[in-house]
Symmetry: C2
Subunit: 637 residues, 2 copies
C-alpha cells in the first residue's frame, strides 16, 4: 500500500513537472521533455509529441524560405514588365464585357492593382519554392525515420515486433467484434458495399456543396450586377467573394464533424478483426473524407475555374443563364491563394482554438454547474477525494486520431498547393507552436490520463504522409504550369518575343473579338461606356482573330503553350522524384551513433552468451533479451 | 576423424543429389531443391537461385501474354487501315528523295512491306502490354518480398540483423583496406574525384562508340548509294544494317568486359570500409557502366533517330556532308524492335553460352593439357587424391555479381523497351530455363565449392531492380507516345478524321514540298525516275504547305500531337505508378500462413519464458533465442 502511494506520488510529481516544463505557453521555445511524456503517457502519445515537435521544428526552415520568397516578390514587383504594361496609362487595350448585357467594355489598365498583387504569388521564385518544399517534405520524412529509430533505441523498443503491440490490445471494439464474429464471410460483403457506396455518397455531397457555393457566387454576382447602380459595382466582387468564402468555410467545418462520425459508423459496420485494423480503417476513411472536404474548393479554384468559360459570342452557361466563373484578369493563382489562406487560417483558428479550447471549457462549465445543483454535502465529499478520484470527472481520452488528422490536413495545406501560397508554412508554424502546448495542456489537465500504449512507429500516418507528399509533387507541377502564367511567359520570351524580353507579353495573350459577332440579345446595353464606339474587343485566350480563315478557333500558340506546360509537368515531377530518391539515399535511416551503439551492444551480448555458454554448458544460440541489453548499456556508458 | 569423414560423405552425398536433381537439363520443368542448395552452398547462393527461379517462373506469365499480343498483331494486320492505304495500288503519293542528288522520288506504295511489318509491333495491344509489364514488374518484386520472407522463416533468419551478416566477413578486401586505412579523410577526395571522372569518361566512351557506329552506318549507306547500280540498292539497306548491328554487338560485348574490370579497379581505389560496402559500390558502378553500354544504342534508336532530320530543302547534316538518319517510313518502332532483339539475343547467346560454357571448358582443357605435360607419376598421385583435394584444381568461385548482373540487364531488356518488343519475355524465359541449370552445373561441378555465406536478402540488387522497374515505366510511356504512331493515329481519329475512322491518316501525316525549293546542288539528278515530272513531293512531318503564308513552318497539328503525346506520358506514368502502389498494398509482404506461424511461436515462447520464470526466479525479459524457437516449431508441427 505504501509502495502504491509512493508510485502515485511519483506520477503526480511527473504530472507537475510536465505541467511546468511542457504544458505551458511560456516554454514554447524549449525542446519538449519527450522522455518524461513517454514515461507518463506511454510510447504512443510520446511518439505523437515527438513527431509534432519534429514537424514544427522543420517548419521553421520552410517558413523562413517561404518568407524570403514572398519578400522577393514584394521587392521585385516594380520590375515586372507584364504588370507595368497593364498599369501603363497609355495602355489603350479595350476588353470585352465581363457579363452579358449589363456589363460594358472596360480598359485593361483598370485591373492594374490585381496584376501587381498577383505578381506577389506568381513569380519565378514560386517554382524554386515548390521544388524546395517537395524536397523539404522528403527531408522531413527521412528525419522522422531517424528520430523514430533513435526513440526506439532510447525507449528500448528495437526488439518489439508490430504483432506484439497489436496483440496486447483487447479493448471494447475487439470485444464488440468477438460478439459479432458470426458476421464474417457471407455477411461481410454487404458491409463492404455499404462502405464503398457511403464513401462515394459522402464525396458526392462534398462536390454538391462546392457546386452549390459556386452557383451562389455566380448567381448573386449576376443579380447584383443587374440591380445595383454602376458606382457600387466595385464593391460587388468583394462582397460576393467574402460571403462565399465564409459559407465555404462554415460548410467545411460542419461537414468535417459529420464525416468524422460517418467514418466511425462505417468502420464499426465493417467489423475489423482487431483494434489495430479498426484504427487503420477508421483513419483511412476519415482521412479520405476530410481531405476531399478540405481540398475540393481549392482544387476547383486551381484547375477548373476560368478554364471552361468559352469565348465572347459563345460563352458557356451554367443552367442556361449564368456564365461560368472567370478569374480576375490573369490572377487565377491569386484567387487560389486567397481561397487557400481563408480555408487554412479559418480552419486553424476555429477548429483548433474555438473547438479545442472552447468546447472543453464549456463542458467543464456544464459539469461544474451540474455539480452545483447537487447537494453541498456531495461537493464537500468531492473536495476530500483523492486526486485520482477527482480526475475521473475529467473528459475521457478519445484517441490520437483527431490530433494527427488535424496535423496531416495542415501538412496538406503546407505542401499540396504551396506554389500559390508561400506563407502557408509560416502560418502552420505559428499554429503549431500554440498547438503543442495546447495539446500538452489538454493531455495533462483536461483529459483523464489515458492507458499507456506501446508503439514502435506512427503506423498508417507515415504512409498517409508519404502519399500526401507524392500527390503534392504532381499538384504543384500542375499549379505552376497550368494555374500560374509562368509557362506562357516563358514561351513568349523564348519563342515569340522580338527582343527576348517580356515586352508585348500582355498583348500576345489577348485574342481579338469583333463585337458584331455577339449573339443576339447578349450584346452590351451601354456600348459607348468608354466614350467611343468599340469595333474589336480583346479577351484572354489563345484563339484565331476574326480576320483569319478560321475565326475564333484555337490557335497554334495555344497548342504550343499546352505542349510546353505538359512537358514542364513531366520534367518537374521526375526531377523532384529523383531528388527525393537522392535525399532518401543521402540521409541514412539509422543515425550513425545509434548504429554504432547497437553494434557494440551486440558484440558484448555475443561475448556474454559465449561466456554463459562456457559456464553452464547450456547452448542458447542468439539470446537477445532486452533485459541483458539494458544492463550492458548501463555498464557501457 | 570419423565424424569428419561422415560429414564429408554427407556433403558429397548432397553434391551427388544436387547434381541429379538440380544441375541437370533433364529436370528443367521441376522446381529447384532450394533447401538443398542452401544447405550445400549457404544462404547467399540459395537466395540467388530462389530469386532466379521466381523470376523465371514469373516470366512464363509475361511471355504468354507477350505471345498473345504478338499473335493479335499478326491476326489483325490485314484490318489495319493505314497499311492498307499505303499498300493500295491506286495510292499515288510521290515521296521526296531519301538522299541528296543520287536518290530520286519514290512511290509510298513501295514501303508497303515495312508498313505491314511495323504494324505487328505498333498496334493498340502494345499499350496494354506495356501497362501489363509494368504491373508484372511490380508483382514480381512483391512476390519476391514474400518469397524472401518465407525463406527467411524456413531458414531461421528472421532474427538475423544485417549488421551480423556483414560483420562476420573479413576477407581480402577488408584486410587490404585495413592496411590502407591511413588513406581516409584527406586522401579520400582524390579517389572520389577519380571515380566520378572515370565513370563519366567511360560513359563518354560508350557514347563515342555509338556515335561511331551511327557514322559508319550513315557514311557506308551514302557511299553505297553513290556507287552501286540502281538495281542493287534494295540490298544496301539490309547489308548496312546487319553489319552495323553486328559491330554494335561486338563492341558492347568487348566493352562489357572492359567495364567490369574498370569498375573493380575504381572500387579498389575508393577503398570502402568493409566487404559489404565494397560489394555494393562495385555492383553500383558495374551496373551503371554495363547498363549504359547495353542501352545507349537502343535509346538512340528509340528517341533520337529520325527526330532531327530537318525537312526537304533544309536537311540537317552530320559533318556537313551526311544527312542524319531517318527511320524507314513510319517504322521507328520496328527499327527499335530489330535493334533490341539483335542486342538481347546476341548478348544472351554469346555471353551466356559461349562465355559461360565455352571458357570454363577451355580453361579446363588447358589445365588438362598442362597436367599431361607433367609426369605420369604426378597424374597417378592425383587419381589417388581425395575428392576435396582434387576439387582444389577447379576454378575458384568469383562471387555472384556477374550472375546477378546478367539477369538484371536481362530484366532491363524485358521491361525497359517492352512496348516495342512483346517477345522479349519469351526469349528471356527460354534463356533462363537453360541459365538455371547451366549455373547449377557450374556451381556443382566446375567451381570450387564457395565458402557458405549467410544473407537475409539479395541486398542492393533489390534496389537496382526497383530502379529499373521505375525507369521502365517512364521509358515505356515515351516509347508509346513518341516512337510509336499510336498518338498521331488517335489524334487524327478524334480531332481531324471526317468519319471517325483512320481513313486518310497516311495523307494527314505527310507534308507537302515544292521541289523548286530544293537547295542548289541538292536536287535529284534523275527527276523523271517515276516517269512523270514531279512538282510537289511529300515527306513525313507536320509542317505548313508551300502555299501557306509561312511555308514549311511547324504546323498547328504538330503542336496538338505533341501536347497529346506529353499528356499521354503524364497519364501513363501516374496511372501505372498508382497501380503499382495498389499492387504493393494488395499483396502483403509476409505470407499469411507464416505470419500466423510466427505469432503462434511468439505466444508459445512467452509461455515458456513465463514458466521458466516461475521455475528459476531469474527474470529474462523477452529472450527470443532461435534455438528455442526451433524446438518449439518441431513440437508444433
Amino acid at each position: 500500500d505504501l509502495g502504491c502511494c509512493v508510485l502515485m506520488n511519483g506520477f503526480y510529481f511527473s504530472a507537475q513537472l510536465l505541467y511546468e516544463e511542457w504544458a505551458n505557453y511560456s516554454v514554447f521555445y524549449k525542446y519538449q521533455p519527450i522522455g518524461l511524456v513517454r514515461k507518463y503517457f506511454g510510447e504512443k502519445i510520446g511518439l505523437y509529441f515527438a513527431w509534432l515537435g519534429l514537424y514544427t521544428q522543420m517548419l521553421i526552415l520552410a517558413s523562413l524560405v517561404g518568407v524570403i520568397v514572398f519578400l522577393y516578390g514584394c521587392a521585385t514587383v516594380n520590375d515586372n514588365i507584364p504588370s507595368m504594361e497593364i498599369c501603363h496609362p497609355k495602355n489603350n487595350i479595350t476588353m470585352c464585357p465581363l457579363c452579358d448585357r449589363v456589363c460594358s467594355y472596360w480598359k485593361l489598365s483598370t485591373s492594374c492593382g490585381t496584376a501587381r498583387a498577383s505578381y506577389l504569388f506568381d513569380n519565378p521564385a514560386t517554382v524554386f519554392f515548390s521544388i524546395f518544399m517537395a524536397l523539404w517534405a522528403a527531408m522531413f520524412m527521412e528525419h522522422w525515420k531517424r528520430k523514430q529509430m533513435q526513440l526506439n533505441y532510447e525507449w528500448d523498443l528495437t526488439g518489439l515486433e508490430d504483432k506484439e503491440v497489436s496483440d496486447s490490445k483487447l479493448t471494447q471494439h475487439t470485444i464488440h467484434n468477438n460478439n459479432t464474429k458470426q458476421t464474417s464471410g457471407r455477411h461481410r460483403l454487404p458491409a463492404y458495399v455499404t462502405n464503398v457506396v457511403m464513401m462515394l455518397l459522402m464525396i458526392g455531397v462534398t462536390f454538391a456543396v462546392v457546386f452549390g457555393v459556386i452557383l451562389y457566387r455566380i448567381s448573386t454576382q449576376a443579380a447584383l450586377y443587374m440591380s445595383s447602380s454602376p458606382t457600387s459595382r466595385s464593391h460587388i466582387q468583394l462582397t460576393v467573394k467574402t460571403t462565399a468564402a465564409i459559407i465555404n468555410l462554415v460548410i467545411i467545418l460542419i461537414l468535417d464533424e459529420v464525416y468524422g462520425a460517418v467514418a466511425r459508423w462505417l468502420t464499426v459496420l465493417e467489423a475489423p478483426k482487431n483494434e489495430q485494423s479498426f484504427e487503420e480503417k477508421l483513419i483511412f476513411k476519415t482521412f479520405i473524407l476530410k481531405f476531399v472536404n478540405a481540398f475540393t474548393p481549392i482544387f476547383y479554384t486551381a484547375f477548373i475555374r476560368g478554364r471552361l468559360v468559352g469565348r465572347p459570342g459563345q460563352y458557356l452557361y451554367v443552367f442556361e443563364s449564368y456564365r461560368a466563373e472567370e478569374c480576375a484578369h490573369g490572377a487565377c493563382l491569386m484567387e487560389l491563394c486567397i481561397q487557400l489562406s481563408i480555408i487554412m487560417l479559418g480552419k486553424q483558428l476555429i477548429q483548433n482554438n474555438l473547438f479545442e479550447i472552447g468546447i472543453p471549457k464549456f463542458k467543464k462549465l456544464i459539469r461544474y454547474l451540474r455539480s452545483k445543483q447537487g447537494s453541498f454535502i456531495e461537493e464537500e465529499r468531492k473536495k476530500k477525494l483523492h486526486r485520482y478520484e477527482s480526475d475521473h470527472f475529467l473528459e475521457p481520452f478519445a484517441g490520437l486520431v483527431p490530433e494527427y488528422m488535424e496535423m496531416i490536413i495542415q501538412f496538406g495545406f503546407v505542401t499540396l498547393f504551396v506554389a500559390s501560397f508561400p506563407l502557408a508554412p509560416l502560418f502552420a508554424l505559428l499554429n503549431n507552436i500554440i498547438e503543442i502546448r495546447l495539446d500538452a495542456k489538454k493531455f495533462v489537465t483536461e483529459l483523464r490520463r489515458p492507458v499507456a500504449t506501446r508503439a514502435k512507429d506512427i503506423g498508417i500516418w507515415y504512409s498517409i504522409l508519404r502519399g500526401v507528399a507524392l500527390v503534392a509533387v504532381i499538384i504543384n507541377a500542375f499549379v505552376i504550369s497550368f494555374t500560374s502564367d509562368f509557362i506562357p511567359r516563358m514561351v513568349y520570351q523564348y519563342m515569340y518575343s522580338p527582343d527576348g524580353s517580356l515586352h508585348g507579353f500582355v498583348n500576345h495573350t489577348l485574342s481579338y473579338f469583333n463585337v458584331s459577332h455577339f449573339e443576339h440579345g447578349k450584346e452590351t446595353m451601354d456600348p459607348l461606356h468608354l466614350g467611343y464606339p468599340v469595333e474589336v474587343c480583346r479577351y484572354k485566350d489563345y484563339r484565331e482573330p476574326p480576320w483569319s480563315p478560321s475565326p475564333y478557333e484555337i490557335s497554334k500558340e495555344f497548342w504550343a503553350v499546352l505542349a510546353v506546360r505538359l512537358a514542364f509537368v513531366i520534367v518537374f515531377q521526375n526531377v523532384v522524384l529523383l531528388m527525393n530518391e537522392v535525399v532518401d539515399w543521402l540521409i541514412p535511416d539509422i543515425p550513425k551513433d545509434i548504429s554504432l551503439q547497437i553494434h557494440k551492444e551486440n558484440t558484448l551480448l555475443v561475448d556474454l552468451v559465449m561466456k554463459e555458454d562456457r559456464d553452464k554448458t547450456r547452448v542458447p544460440e542468439r539470446g537477445a533479451s532486452s533485459g541483458t541489453k539494458k544492463t550492458y548499456r548501463n555498464n557501457n556508458n
